[in-house]
């Protein structure tokens, strides 16, 4: 049994936000009343989660263009994905033999699961979360061409824009950044209108719709 590990999200950075806790119960907390929220981790150790959170924040920073991976809870999203079937290659063909140095047009042929790639990749980033931003960027530039970095970058985008039920895109900050309304059932009245103007309906997450109330995300599969 692994020791219970937590990632602490600061209420000052994501005050007034809707977070899905481990049992998927929506949990709203406020900067005024709460100092922080401790999210239980499923795969990462706490030091690993802090490194992933810091690296994701350099890939998708919080800056003058708006919130980023920090506010969206990308590290929480990645932790849950790695703990779930995707992280352990549940649906990937993993029969031997594995060939090495194969052309990209045959897709990833490696044996390592996403869990393994992360765990190994994180070993090279020890102390990353303690570095100043410019040094963090230099460090990431050194690993830019690795499989680990490409997974981290891809997962960061997923964690920014997935439905909040997966642990990322907390309070739909990602969707608000790009004006995406989420699973909006009907655009019938609008689809052939608003030509040339931004039409930005208020986003709604799947769990907030009557139809999606019972949606069970794949990372919860045994």
């Amino acid at each position: 049994m692994r020791r219970r590990e937590f990632l602490t999200l600061s209420a000052t950075s994501i005050g007034g936000m809707l977070v899905y806790s481990l049992d998927r119960k929506p949990f709203r907390f406020f900067a005024q009343t709460e100092q922080s929220v401790r999210i239980p981790l499923r795969f990462f150790t706490q030091p690993e989660a802090l490194i992933v959170a810091a690296a994701a924040s350099r890939i998708f920073p919080s800056d003058e263009a708006g919130p980023g991976a920090q506010e969206a809870g990308v590290a929480v999203y990645i932790d849950r994905q790695l703990a779930g079937p995707w992280g352990r290659d549940r649906y990937r063909y993993t029969q031997e033999p594995f060939e090495e140095n194969t052309p990209a047009e045959f897709g990833y042929q490696g044996k390592a699961t996403p869990r393994h790639v992360y765990r190994e990749g994180l070993k090279d980033l020890k102390g990353f979360d303690q570095l100043p931003p410019a040094e963090q960027d230099n460090k990431l530039k050194q690993i830019e061409t690795t499989l680990f970095f490409s997974l981290l970058r891809r997962n960061t985008i997923e964690g920014m824009f997935c439905d909040p039920v997966h642990g990322g895109n907390i309070d739909m900050v990602g969707w608000q950044l790009i004006g995406y309304p989420g699973p909006r059932m009907s655009n019938y009245a609008d689809v052939d209108k608003h030509f040339g103007e931004a039409f930005r309906p208020k986003p709604v997450s799947l769990r907030e719709t009557p139809e999606g109330n019972n949606f069970r995300p794949s990372e919860d599969e045994e």
Binding site: Y93, P103, E144, Y180, P183, Y188, V191, D192, G212
Partner: protein, 587 residues
């Protein structure tokens, strides 16, 4: 092995063709029909509340489980093939309804000359113009013979569109290049979102002939000739890789299952993995006796039947015949054998990506909502001075942009791939980007085929299916020809920046390129060059039929679903009207 009580008809695969055949035979005869589907059961009511991009579009929740079985791929007969370990160039479905549940709904007919590709091309350009290593051939059926079946398939699905040729009369606004049709589409065209409307205006200004994409996603409520009613599309943008939340997109679960559920003589067994077709030899011919399968409890059973249908998609139709030892496997060196030959995919390129100043509201759309031009399709333009044959369709679809898939598509002027500069550019571009796509013909070649892999196995220890596939110069030159046309269209649409497709190189098994794989059990008028006759009946085993795109001799540019449904109707008619009265070769 346990032997189950015999049925009249066993159908392997519960997707579009298998369920359509079950419904036709089950309702037009008293035959007992068992459909064996290896995936899980599905109903139309399962879909509301599944609009989740991550699980359905990124983790492709509805597709076959590759950990159990996949294909291997190589580019030529010398290479060692590698398994497709995660999804890449195509996405085969599983479960009741199959890929017909999560398709986009784009439903064109094939051009008339596609069915006589070899004869028509030789007639016009001479045999010397064909690529030296081609293996293209005629289908053994003509467009005129197909027309009534196309009409029936369109009415079953309720296709929304605009006719361009009713009995020879050309109608502006429809596809004036299409083959003649006996009547207007069952329902009016879908709404046209902004990006697609821009394309239509630009195409018209350039002298082309734009038309609305024919859609199985209803523009209006519709009741089909079977009495099945469906509601109109809401343009939610969750079609491809999803089941329809409101039943507006025609799917086997919402057009065929309601009828099948009413019939006591049709049963669907899910979780049934068929491993072999069992046959006996009587006199000069062979007779299929049934199939063996692992049931949902993991027990292997034998299901005897009088009539056997393979309707389990291109990969499994071909593989089951190879594993069962029915027919002569194709040998690429000697050219002998028919089983596995003429593997084709479809040229699928994002010919031009257009970046606009104005927002496009791209989250709104529908799988088949869009505008097409066929000015460069088939042989509709003269190829005398061109370095390739045939062509394809340029499209500006508005399928509904979803953010994980589309965030970060950037013009060539942006070099960054992460960090603040990248984020800023990606936020600006996100809702200002559109793709002009091209779907073009993939000719059949002697070197492109399917056989059994010598190395990799499935969960039962059976060999995986192996693809030997690559593009020919014809496809590469076609892509080169069409790319500047797409760029010109993008600029005419008002794009401030454009990027173009880099060109077709080797077949890329890792880039998604439509789930349209054809060949392996091809149809034709001669047993020396085809596996099934023009009624999709096996040449050597007359009580065995093969349904679906595995019977297409080569890939035409247009999407295959409507045609494979039309061919299934034609086979059902031949069986009910002729075969059941006197079981024998239909051709």
């Amino acid at each position: 092995m346990k032997t189950l009580p015999a049925v009249d008809v066993v159908i392997v695969g519960g997707g579009w063709t298998g369920l359509l055949m079950a419904k036709e035979l089950g309702s037009r005869s008293g035959l007992s029909v068992a459909v064996l589907e290896r995936g899980k059961h599905r109903e139309s009511a399962d879909y509301p509340g599944t609009m989740d991009e991550l699980d359905y579009a990124v983790r492709v929740h509805m597709m076959q489980d590759l950990s159990l079985e996949t294909v291997t791929v190589r580019h030529d007969s010398i290479q060692r093939a590698l398994p497709m370990r995660q999804y890449g160039s195509f996405l085969p479905g599983t479960g009741v309804g199959g890929a017909g549940e999560h398709w986009n709904g784009i439903s064109p007919r094939f051009l008339p000359d596609c069915f006589e590709l070899f004869s028509r091309t030789v007639e016009k350009y001479g045999a010397k113009r064909l690529p030296a290593d081609h293996s293209i051939q005629d289908w053994g059926v003509t467009y005129d013979e197909m027309e009534p079946y196309y009409t029936r398939a369109e009415r079953m699905l309720g296709i929304s569109g605009k006719a361009g040729n009713i009995r020879g009369k050309k109608i502006v606004g429809g596809n004036i290049f299409e083959g003649w049709r006996s009547a207007e589409y069952p329902t009016s065209p879908t709404k046209i979102p902004y990006f697609s409307a821009l394309f239509g205006d630009a195409a018209k200004a350039l002298g082309y002939h734009p038309y609305p994409s024919p859609a199985a996603n209803l523009s209006e409520p519709y009741t089909n000739p079977d009495g099945v009613s469906r509601s109109a599309c809401f343009y939610c943008g969750f079609c491809e890789r999803f089941g329809c939340m409101v039943g507006a997109k025609a799917q086997p679960t919402n057009t065929l299952l309601p009828l099948i559920h009413e019939r006591k003589n049709i049963s669907i067994r899910s979780g049934a993995s068929v491993r072999r077709v069992i046959y006996g030899t009587a006199g000069s011919g062979k007779t299929a006796q049934g199939v063996t399968y692992f049931d949902d409890k993991g027990e292997e059973v034998f299901q005897p039947a009088e009539l056997v249908f393979l309707a389990s998609w291109t990969l499994n139709n071909t593989r089951l015949l190879l594993l069962s030892g029915i027919g002569e496997p194709y040998n690429a060196q000697s050219g002998k054998g028919t089983l596995g030959r003429n593997l084709t995919h479809q040229v699928s390129i994002g010919a031009a990506t257009a970046f606009f100043e104005k927002p496009l509201n791209r989250f709104m759309g529908s799988g088949a909502a869009g505008v097409c031009i066929s000015d460069f399709d088939g042989d509709l333009f003269d190829h005398s001075g061109l370095p390739f044959l045939r062509g394809g369709i340029l499209v500006a679809m508005s399928m509904g942009y979803r953010p994980i898939a589309n965030f970060g598509i950037l013009p060539p002027s942006v070099k960054a791939g992460w960090g603040s500069g990248w984020k800023k550019a990606a936020l600006e571009c996100y809702d200002r980007t559109g793709l002009i796509g091209f779907s073009g013909e993939h000719l059949a070649y002697k070197g492109n085929y399917m056989d059994l892999d010598p190395t990799y196995k499935d969960r039962f220890g059976d060999p995986l299916l192996r693809f030997t596939i690559n593009w020919g110069e014809n496809e590469r030159k076609m892509a080169e020809f069409v790319t500047p046309k797409a760029l010109e269209l993008a600029r005419a649409m008002g794009a401030k920046e454009v990027s173009s497709f880099p060109g077709l190189k080797n077949y890329d098994a890792n880039r998604y390129q439509f789930t349209h794989i054809q060949g392996g059990t091809i149809m034709g008028s001669s047993p020396d060059r085809s596996v099934v006759n023009p009624y999709l009946q096996h040449w050597q085993v007359p009580n065995l039929f093969v349904l679906g795109a595995s019977t297409f001799p080569q890939n035409p540019s247009a999407h295959p679903t409507l045609t494979l449904l039309a061919l299934t109707y034609r086979t059902a008619d031949a069986i009910v009207d002729r075969y059941l009265k006197s079981p024998s070769q239909l051709a």
